[in-house]
Structure formats: structure tokens, C-alpha cells
Symmetry: D2
Subunit: 347 residues, 4 copies
């Protein structure tokens, strides 16, 4: 911590600040310039900078350590690769997770899974518990939906990711899924994060609608500090004044997070954009900005979807997008799944 005193700070004020810091168990290095005194503060680093900020004569307090440790590149310089069997998130290949917003019927889930597999997705996404802002909206099928999703994932050779909303759902979801998804609204549900830190399966952590990147990494820290190293970050748009899109997809978060943290970062252009015709450009942009993966809503019949139909892609749109992404990925030295049918053709 660096404490910058005001130009007009008196000697008494400076000494009072030093005394307070020493009281709190810190070592203080005083450095007096022509017009201003600066205090370098070293120690066990658990003091709240706001407490010093309000002392008389203090102009500014600057933290010099990130509040996160395990999530930072300082702690672990090399990229983390989250591995589920042969699916490696954070490696050279861009991993695409796709599927319907919610599980609705067996046919819908199976048809959607078949479509995303055909186009090259490696992970099936789909919700059984839905966080809906209205208590009167469709809230998901629960375990029945999870079973449909698992069956479809197995049938088509896909891994499965699904959202967990509350501690009470963890055991159930763990029985069916390969990856837990934590939604934007739960990014600071610390009780939930702490429990997920004790799980064996990886967690995809979406950025909160108004979360700073630092807060997002702090939430990852909650999971990591419990012993679960499989954290995947997911950018899905932040809230700004612009109303033309539901959220503002923060494309720059991808390179920023990759600089600060070793964790893989994927992008959710479906929620970032909120409408189907914006998903493809945002998905292409995310891959061009070096995202490690994508999370995309695809529905076999979006016009009949019970939730998020407007932002779900048609299978044909998704296939075309995948073809575009296969052109873009090599620009940054990455690959993306070849179309399995074609691959089988080669065997």
C-alpha cells in the first residue's frame, strides 16, 4: 500500500497516519519530497484502504497488491487448461459449447444436441433451473430436464454444462453434468461459490452485469481457494447506457483477463447481444480477440422456444458461423473443431 499525503498535510497529520498504520501491524517507509510526503506500507496486507483514506491529511491510498492471489498470473504464470477427458479448455483449440437455453422436451434437446455436434461443438449447454427475473416465467424442468440433457449429450458424444443457482442444487447437478455454470446474477453469491470450491468438477463463472474485472477474479478466488482449480471465466456483456443491445459485450475483457489471470476465458455472445442477428458478429469478434471458447444458444426450433428464443440461433446459422470461425482461428494461431462428419469421412 502507498499512502500519498496532501501537499498541505502537517507533520502531526503525517505522524498520526504512520502511528495508525503501525498500530495495524504494518511497516512504514516514509519518503518526503519537496511538496509532498509518500508512505510505503508493507505488511500482512489485510487492512482496508478506506480506513486510511479518511484520515486527515491523506490524499490518496493506492493498493499495490491485487486482492486476488490464486487467480492471478503472479501466482501461476502459465495458462490453466481445464480438461474434461479429451476436451481441453484453454489450450490451442477454441472450444464451442452450444445448445438450447432450457431443456423443454426430449425431442427438442436431442435435435439441438445433434445439430450442435454436427457443426463442431464439443459441449452441450442447456438449463434445467432458470433464473428468471419474473416469478411468473417458465422456471425450468429441474431433474427431468437434467436427465434429458445428459441422455442427449451421451447420445451425441458431447460433454454437458448446466446452470446451478443455489447450494441446494449442487449434488443433483453434479450427478448429471460435467461443468457447473454460475450465472451473472450469482457471480457474488458467495455461499454458492464457496461450496463449488469443494466440488471436483469445473465451474464456468459468468461475469456479473456490473462486475469489474477485479471483482470477477475475486469471485474466481472464492472457488479456487476451496481447492477447485477448474475455473473457466465467461464474458457475457455488461450494463451500460446503450439501449440498442440488451448488454454491451465487453470484448476488451478477453485480452485484459488473459493478461491478469492464467484462467481460460470464454465468451457468451448470445447473452451479450440478446438478439439472434447479432450473435454471429460477436462470436467472430470474440474468437478474433483470442477467446478460449464460446457459449452459444442454439435451438432446433427457436421460434417455439420457451425461453430466450429471440437470441437462439437456428442450426443452419450456427453451422455457417462455425465455418467462419474456422477461417478466423488460424489468424491467431488457433484451431477450431473440424466438422465431425467430414472427419469421420476421412477415417
Amino acid at each position: 500500500m502507498v499512502v500519498v499525503m496532501q501537499e498541505r498535510a502537517s507533520e502531526e497529520q503525517i505522524e498520526a497516519v504512520i502511528e495508525r498504520l503501525v498500530d495495524l501491524g504494518m511497516d512504514v517507509h516514509r519518503s518526503s519530497g519537496a511538496s509532498r510526503t509518500v508512505l510505503g506500507v508493507v505488511g500482512p496486507n489485510k487492512i482496508d484502504s478506506a480506513l486510511i483514506q479518511i484520515l486527515d491529511g491523506v490524499k490518496e491510498v493506492v493498493r499495490i497488491s491485487e486482492p486476488y492471489k490464486l487467480a492471478g498470473r503472479t501466482f501461476k504464470p502459465n495458462d490453466t487448461v481445464v480438461t474434461i477427458d479429451d476436451v481441453r479448455i484453454g489450450g490451442d483449440e477454441v472450444i464451442v459449447m452450444a445448445g438450447p437455453c432450457s431443456a423443454e422436451t426430449e425431442e427438442q434437446v436431442d435435435a439441438s444436441a445433434a445439430a450442435v455436434k454436427r457443426a463442431g461443438a464439443k459441449v452441450l449447454r442447456g438449463g434445467a433451473f432458470k433464473p428468471r427475473s419474473s416469478p411468473y416465467s417458465f422456471q425450468g424442468l429441474g431433474e427431468v430436464g437434467l436427465r434429458m440433457l445428459r441422455d442427449a449429450a451421451n447420445a451425441h458424444g458431447l460433454k454437458l454444462i448446466s446452470e446451478v443457482m443455489d447450494v441446494s442444487q449442487i449434488d443433483l447437478i453434479a450427478r448429471y453434468c460435467d461443468i457447473f455454470q454460475v450465472g451473472a446474477r450469482n457471480m457474488q453469491n458467495f455461499t454458492l461459490l464457496r461450496e463449488l470450491g469443494h466440488q471436483q468438477k469445473p465451474v464456468l463463472l459468468k461475469r456479473g452485469l456490473s462486475a469489474t474485472i477485479e471483482e470477477w477474479l475475486m469471485s474466481a478466488e472464492y472457488i479456487l481457494s476451496g481447492g477447485n482449480n477448474g475455473v473457466i471465466l465467461c464474458e457475457r456483456g455488461i450494463r451500460t447506457f446503450e439501449t440498442a443491445t440488451r448488454n454491451t459485450f465487453d470484448i476488451s475483457a478477453i485480452p485484459v483477463v488473459k493478461k491478469l489471470s492464467h484462467l481460460p476465458v470464454v465468451a457468451d455472445p448470445s447473452h451479450g447481444a440478446g438478439r439472434r442477428d447479432m450473435v454471429a458478429p460477436m462470436a467472430r469478434a470474440a474468437v478474433a480477440a483470442d477467446a478460449d471458447g464460446l457459449l452459444i444458444e442454439v435451438h432446433n426450433d427457436p421460434d417455439r422456444a420457451l425461453s430466450d428464443g429471440a437470441q437462439s440461433m437456428f442450426p443452419a446459422q450456427f453451422e455457417r458461423l462455425m465455418a467462419e470461425l474456422r477461417i478466423i482461428a488460424p489468424a491467431i494461431g488457433r484451431s477450431i473443431c473440424l466438422e465431425p462428419v467430414a472427419r469421420r469421412g476421412w477415417a
Copy 2:
């Protein structure tokens, strides 16, 4: 719902939209102007406007009902007054809830309770479970803290409010507190809100950092729809680009919410400002803008507080603030608690 077609929309496009709406069970009234067609849509009102928005030829879809019902003035024109014995929140008197951020020791809780009671507060606030953005920060004393708070509230004739973070804490907190507090980070923890809807005690619901007023009222709806009518809304600052304060206290939310909803609205200037010297001006402003109450952090020794010390007021500052508020409240035809000592003097 009103569907506005593009100027260049073809007859086929218009008919396709109408057909889709009829499919969804709605009645459609078509109104064609010189340059544009507008469709009035009436019905059971559960369709997602985004689904229509993306149809060819549609320019804009306008919802004409609020998504909330029980929380709105349309449903209940008269102000709701939340009553706990003789404390009435939403009536003529401005109710002040004050106390330390966290319960730390019996002495600290008791001294803080004595101080806020003396100055005119009616409700003691204090946390036993703390939502901290770092897993390494003080997380609260749990039940031990709740007992300290209850004892101090009883000793000084105050009601008690404390934060609930998870469904698993509800029963415990209900045994000790008069009002549940839901923090900003949990405003969209729908599992929690739903459970609180089945409780008998009132709930103070803080606005999320990036929540629109409509989303805030939708979260209130979750509680109300479960049968719990005692919802108190609490503005505590939103996230903006300004970094001079921790949050931007949205003072205009107070009159806006009072226009849209019958629920009482209180203000939390401590979190809105984030630093002690900004609390008094924000508290005065909130009362001048017609807030029904205030939630203020006061600590008997803020410099030694384990959390939020920088934004906690000293007892003497709080007393002075209360004196200022007693001048302001009559400007809008309201009262604020007389200093109890003085009152006793009159008896």
C-alpha cells in the same frame, strides 16, 4: 403490446407477424397509417417481446403492461405501511435504522445501540453474516453475533434488522430479527427471494448495483407473490463511470419508485457514499427527496471496526445529522423521531 412495423414492411411481413401473434393466443388490432402499420396486441400477456422483435419487417415492440403486478400502484394505489409493533415504515414519520456494519463484541454492539437510540433511531442494524468480495476477509460472527444484536436491541428498545445471504440462514435469522435484509448482491438470488416470500417478517430489499428500477420491482414481486406483503425497498447507489465515490447514489430513484409502486422506500447513504464525510449530505438529500427512512452505519469506535469502518459515522456525527434531519423533514410534511431523552424530559 404494440408492434410497430417498418415503413417498408410488406403486406406478407405484416400478415406473418399477425399470424404468429394469433398462434400465441393474442388478439391483434391492426391500424394502418399513411406510412406505417401499427398492431395493438391484447391477450394473456405472457409472450416474450423479443420473439416478435426479430420477425421480418418489425421495427419495434412496446410492452404496455409493467411486468410486475403486486408491486405496482395500478394494483394497489395506496401507500403500503410496513408495521412492526409501533414502528411504521412508510407512514408520516421518517424511520431511521442505524448501527454497526458487523456485530463484533458485546460491548461494541451495546455501545453502538445505545448511541443510535439516544439520537433517535428506531431500528438497530448490524450484520452477523457478511457478504465479502474477498474470501480472506472477516465473514461475520454468525449466531453469536445475532444474539449480541438481539440483546442490545432489547436492552435499548429498538427493533432489529440483519442481512440474510442464503436460504439456509433464514430460520436462524428469523429467530433473532424483526426485519430481514437482502443485500445488493442478492437482489436477483431468486431462490432466496422465493423463500422469503413465505416468511412472516418484513424484508428490506436493497437495489442491485446495476439493477434498473423495473428489475428491482420485479424482485420485490418475487417476495410479494409468495404472500409476504412487508417489502421495504432500499436505494444504496448504482455503478457508473464516476470513481470519486464508490457508487453513485441515485437520489431520483426515490421519487420514481414512489410514483410506480406503493411500497416504502428507504435510503442507505453509507453504502451509497462509501466514506463517512459523504454520509450526512446524502442522508439529508434522501430525506429532502421524500425517503421513508434511512439505513446508516454508526459504530461506537469506527477506527477499530472490523468492516466498513471508513463509512461508519461516529455517534456524535450521527446525532448532529439527526438534528439536521429534524429541520428538513417538515419541509415535506413529515416528522422524524424526537430525541428520546428530551421526550422523556417532557413526561
Copy 3:
């Protein structure tokens, strides 16, 4: 400037940063802790911190001087009072400036001026050049409007403030007005600010819609550095995600600016709110938060106004607001103009 090196910074990286700083003419004080090196940098203070930020091994660069000088309390600890004859902005009295958005007709201007004078305003506001976001909207009457406003101000014993949009309008507006108003959209029109720095008359500088407080003070610095000390700051709302009001009135900017700067701060609740029924609560809040004045749109017949009619108060609403403000101002040790008619009655 304080340069914080990364924990893993090598000795070569640290030396390269020091060399670069010395090259730029700075003195560097190196302070090595157990895990991290911090560099204190002193000097003529014109280097761009971003240049150092991007050097290898640098974690963070912290500026320790404000970029503004003349506008800061460090430079001038005592409050500035801007004086126009007997009107003192920044003194004990809260000064109210009110009138129509635009000058439209002689009758309208005169009736509005009479109304605001009667209620206690000291300055007439009104526009002759209007910055309209549509090229097809009413753009103001120009010099004809200025003359109407000056005549009405003279007739009713009021000072006059009017907006200047471009360097080419300065001479003309100076002939008619007592205070120049710079609108939010021109807060960073540096060519205009520089010219106003050479004028004799005070300048009311509105905060830009997305301007930080620091940028606002930097724009004030442009005017002050030209030799014009009469700068009045005006908060009018910032842009956020909330759409229930046109802007979010940043009430906390008032105490923050008063801490950082000696310049008077007034509030414009009409633009901050954007609708008539929100103006009174915002105006009361601003005075309660210690604003030095208010800028309010009042029109003798708002329903017929050519611009901003929806946010203009009726004369009777304005009178009632002034009565409320007279109750609030003493809470913070200030006064507000007595109703002149009453005062005359006492003579």
C-alpha cells in the same frame, strides 16, 4: 508519480524503467520491499503516466498530483464567491436562477421573469441559441431573444444567464448577459473554453453527460488559466444504465466537488430529472446536500413551450418549491431569498 513494479519484475526491467524516467527529467527514489519494488518519482510532472504503464515489469502507475492546479483547494483553500453586483454565488445565501428554456416571445419572457422574481430567484435564465440534438428542432431566436431576456431581467431586477455554444457568439452574448452558460455538450469544447478564459464575465460550466469530476475540473482549469476567475460549476446529471429518468442526477458530486475545489457548485434539477414532477424533490435534495445555487426551468405556460416544456415548472409549483427550500436551507446554516413581495410588505 509512484511506479509499482510487478512481483516478478527482473532487475533489468526495474533499471530500464528508472532509466526511462531519468531520461524524461525525473528524480527517482527506489524502495524495495520483500516482494515488490516501488519507485517514487518527482519532477516537473508533465509525463504521460500511460508511457510508463506499458513498460515491461510495471504493474501500476499512480499519479500523486491532481492534473488541475488553479481549480483545486490545494492552490486556493478558501471558497470562491462569484459576485455580480449584490448577487453572491458561493456565499451563505443559496442563489436561485430560473426562467424559461428558450426565449420565445416578449410576453412569455416577461411573464416568466415576473414569476421567478416574485418567488425569490435572483438570476433569470433563458436561451437564445439552443443546442438541439436534431437539426430539425427549434434552434432559438438569436439576438432577438437576447434582447427580450435583457429587457425582462432589467424590468424585474434580475441578473441574466444565457448559453454560449461557439466562439463566434461570445461578443454578442457578452453585450446582453451577466453570466455565460456552457452546456454539457460543450464541456470539452476547448476552443470555446479558452476564449471564455479571456472574458470579464463569469462562466457557469455544466458537467458533461459522461464527464468525471476530474475532467470537469480540468475544463474549469482551461477558463481559469486564461485569467477568468469567475467559474461556477453546475451538476446536471450523468448518463447511466437507468432509463426511468433522462439522466441520473449525481447528488454526491456536490459534496465531492466542494472538497476538491474552491469553486461554487450549483445544481440543475430540470435537466437532471427531465420531467416536471421530479424537479422539486431533486432541487430540495441538492440544497440539502449543500449546493450553492439552483438553475431551474420555469415557464409561464409550459404546455405551450417550444422546448423543454415537459421539464419546465409552472410558476405556482416553483413558488411552492421555494417555500420548501426556505425550510431546508437553515438545516445546513444557509439562507435563501425571502419572497420579495413579503419583504416589500415589511418595509
Copy 4:
């Protein structure tokens, strides 16, 4: 315009609204549903919706025409291509404009121009008048700088774009440049926009830091309505709560604007990111999202640049970026300039 009445609106209120609208010269179509009345309003369309919004009984007013006309796709369905000799902005080729932030010396301008030409840029960018937020910063070389830029552009076969900050600079800049650049801070300098509407040369209009897309298109309308059809829009980042980057580059603005307007849209990743190491990912993302061009700061020696050095690319970085973009562009059916030297080599 559609006026939605409140559920509880009385017949008197409805009639008062209709009367007001008729007074304003509009035709009103009344449509009464079971619970609510909706009024369709048609007419010369110049009324301020806020005026109706505040009438008693009104719930919401919805505009059904965009406020812009000439800038919209309704007016002109086909893409506009802005042509300067053989450079076509808005056609199949992605046009790159690059060069230093400011003209500093002949050598610097020439070396930078040579570098960007070699890598495939078609337009040289560089400032002679600089909008600096501090009055104490380098303000540009004025005409001397313009001459350096023109000479370098001519020497290397590039077109030239440079910023205009005030009406008084238009004639001078027009003598030297091929495209006028309007900076973000001047996006609502309506006096300047109006004058540029009378010029023959195209105008690149940057989006303001807090401008909505609609406001941006309204500012384009100012230029178009004066008769100048050569408007190029430029996204450069908006202001949000995130502080890890200087601005949040709004990547989704590119597809949104292309849907609403026929005008070409380019991206400025240098200002959007604010630091050199973020420019390449943002530039790649912009092209992947279908931007018609890029505006990039490149300096022959960024470490010695007088302004924006931290966000200026080194020539070698820029070359590498161009190579990456040549891989990405075909993914969306576009091309990007081949390296001229290589091309010559083929001839």
C-alpha cells in the same frame, strides 16, 4: 407516436390527452382494450413526446419514427460508399487509416507514413490541432503540422485525414486534407457539424463517449442535412464503470449501426483500448464484426511520441496485425489491402 394510457385512466384524462394532441395538429386513433386504452397518433411528427408523457393518466409514449431520416436505412436502403479517388470506404475492401497521433517533425511524419503505407494502409492519419483535456499539454503544430502531413501523404501515395475542432479551422484543414475528422468530444458541437454539412469533403464522425447510437446518427444527420453525403461513422469506445481499459470498445455498435444506417462504420481500436497491447485484439475483433475500416495510431518511435505514445503501435506490430487481418477478412467475404511491396513484386 403511440400513447399508452394507464389502466386506471379516467375518461376525462383520455379525452384531455386527445384534445391536446389534436391541438398540436395530430390525428388520433383511439383503441380501447379490456383494461387499457391506446392512442395511435399520426401527423407532421414534430411534437416532443415528453410533453404528452407528463399528462395525467398517461403511462407511456412511444415514438414510432426514428428522429433521423437521411442517415437511416428507411431513407436509403443501400450501403453508402464514400469514395476519394480510388479509395472506397464502405465497399468490399476494409480500408485502414493509420499514422501518428500528432504531427511532430517532418522526419517522424514521413517515417510513420512510410511504415503504414508499407503495411497496407490507404489513408494517413495525424493531428495538427489536438483536443487535450489539460490546458498545459501539447496542443499540436497547427498549419505547420498539416503541411508535414500532406507532404508525407503525397510522397507515399496516401490519402489524408486530420481532426477539425472548431468552425474557424475548417478552411485551413480543407486545403490540406482529404477527410475531416470530428472527435468524440465534438460529436455534439452542432455549430461545427452544421458547417461541415456545407463542405465538399467527407467527414469521419467519432461517437461521443456517452453517446447513444441514436444520438450519433442524429449528429450524422446534421452533416447530411447540409448536403454533404460523405459521412463515415467511427466507433471508439464508450464510458462505463470498468476501469481496466480507458474506455469500453462497443463492438456490437458495428452490426447495430449497419442495420439502422447505410453509412460506413469504421473502428478506432487505439482510443477504444488506450494501450498498445490491446490494439491488435480489438482491431481483429472489429474486422471480424464487419467494420468497413480501421483508424489506428502508429508511430515510428512511440516511446518518444509527444501524445498518445502508450497507445501507438510500433511499425512492426502494425505489420503483423495487417497480416492477421488479411486472414480474417475473407471469413466475412471481404478483402484487405495486400502489402504494396509484395504486390509490386508480383507484377
